[in-house]
Amino acid sequence: MSSEVTLARVTRSEWTKLWSLRSTRWSLFVACLAMAGLGPLIAAVSMAHWNQLGEFQRLTFNPLERAMGGYRLAQLAIGVLGVMVISGEYSTGMIRSSLMAVPKRLPVLWAKLLVFTGVAFVLMLVTALISFFASNAIFTEHHVNQTLGSPHALRVFAGSVLFMCVTGVFCTALGTIIRSTAGSISAYVGLMFVLPVVGDILPASLSNAINPYLPSVAGTEVASTFHDPYTFSAWGGFALFCGYTLLAVVVAAVLLKRRDA
């Protein structure tokens, strides 16, 4: 039997690693719970308060973004787990065992990205479907329910799932670059959640010029129904976010290959 290290074998190994940690199972469970549960919860609350809503609020009610709202929370669990997939190896020293087994190093990164993105995609796809159909079942009460064939629905649905997967990739790259769990999570939260807040404080002209380029803003265009005139298009913004992620992955790969472990 041939016995060399192959990407397929390293991927199996990473699959074992992912599922054999309690912390990853918990993070994935939380992500699933958030993605599947938050939409229906919001739907139920809005239906219960429907009679208190004014005419204008009813007209502008956005069932699609509510049904998919779970991604706003689930992305955090996915992002943190994306970081820990690699930073957990640095903090425990496991990375040395991993790199001794796979001294070419890069297959470790590719396998981690494959396994984690694959798992995140399947789980988020399934839970997003649950959220979409459960929320819309609840929306039937006041006849604001939609199907995947409604305007923007398929795009927002797919966009939410894809955004989370790319976030996971982005965070694994961050973890590889920064190596410490705390540092990487801070960088993630800073880039994705703090920067947009800072952007909002700036004078409107400046903020309108900068905001569209922020990774969180660009990346979530694809998960929103409406677009301000100064922002990117849905897929244009997403493409920019993918570009940032690709850049991070390239930097991560170069550093992983070059640095002492």
Binding site: S3, E4, V5, R9, T16, S20, G93, S97, M100, D260
Partner: protein, 301 residues
Amino acid sequence: MIEVSGVSKRYGEKLAVDDLSFSVQPGVVTGFLGPNGAGKSTTMRLILGLDAPSSGAALVNGKRYQDLQAPLREVGAMLEARAIHTGRSGYNHLLALAQTQGIPRGRVDEVINMVGLESVARKRVGSFSLGMGQRLGVAAALLGDPATVILDEPANGLDPEGIRWIRNLLKGLAADGKTVFLSSHLMSEMEQTAEHLIVIGKGRMIADMSVEAFVAQASSGAPVRVRTPDSVALTAALIGAGARVSAEQDGALAVQGLTTEQVGELAAAERLVLHELTPVQVSLEDAFMSITKDSVEYQQA
């Protein structure tokens, strides 16, 4: 077979390894010794491709570690700092490593039995004692049944029973023709395990020789103890033969400059009765201390 040629490693200002060259042969246990901070762990990380040498090259079986197709099947290593995710079970840790090069699952159970961790293999590594962690490290090193084994301070944290276990294990591996390279900063530990020694201090080579030669070299200046009822006559004869003689507290004489045989023959020629004639043993520990005392990194004040 490990070949290190002209390897240096610089961390910023610090030259941790300074132009080391040596080879580690199969079939014997080679001890790698040096005081704290001598550069033993660094040298091992360089051999294992974890750190890149600033200059020189380290080869395993004639190849750079990075170029090995199935590294775990050629080299098994245990590092000084535990390289294990504490949240995972020992079994899953070994399984994940095995899967990277198609080592069958059955081999994982085999090495777990070999190191005696059957009862705890499914528990989180975080709950392991120091000794259990070392055993798991040894299991990982043996996973691919490699011809070369590199262990950094394997006896660390083991109880006397565990130390004897690892000693016999390593001797067995060497007897099977494998290359066994292990580090320690304790000579006493090495004394009973290694046949060959590589001693470094402050990153530089101090000695590369068999344990026997090492002891012989260190004992060459050691005195001979001799006791006789007629100390005065013997002292005169010894000094006449060119020896340096000093009196011990118990009345014996310490003779330097002559071998045990020469002292005995001289006494016989002078027809002097001897009550004791012993070469003073230099322990390996003392030999190591004296040979490395100039290169101890962290001197006591």
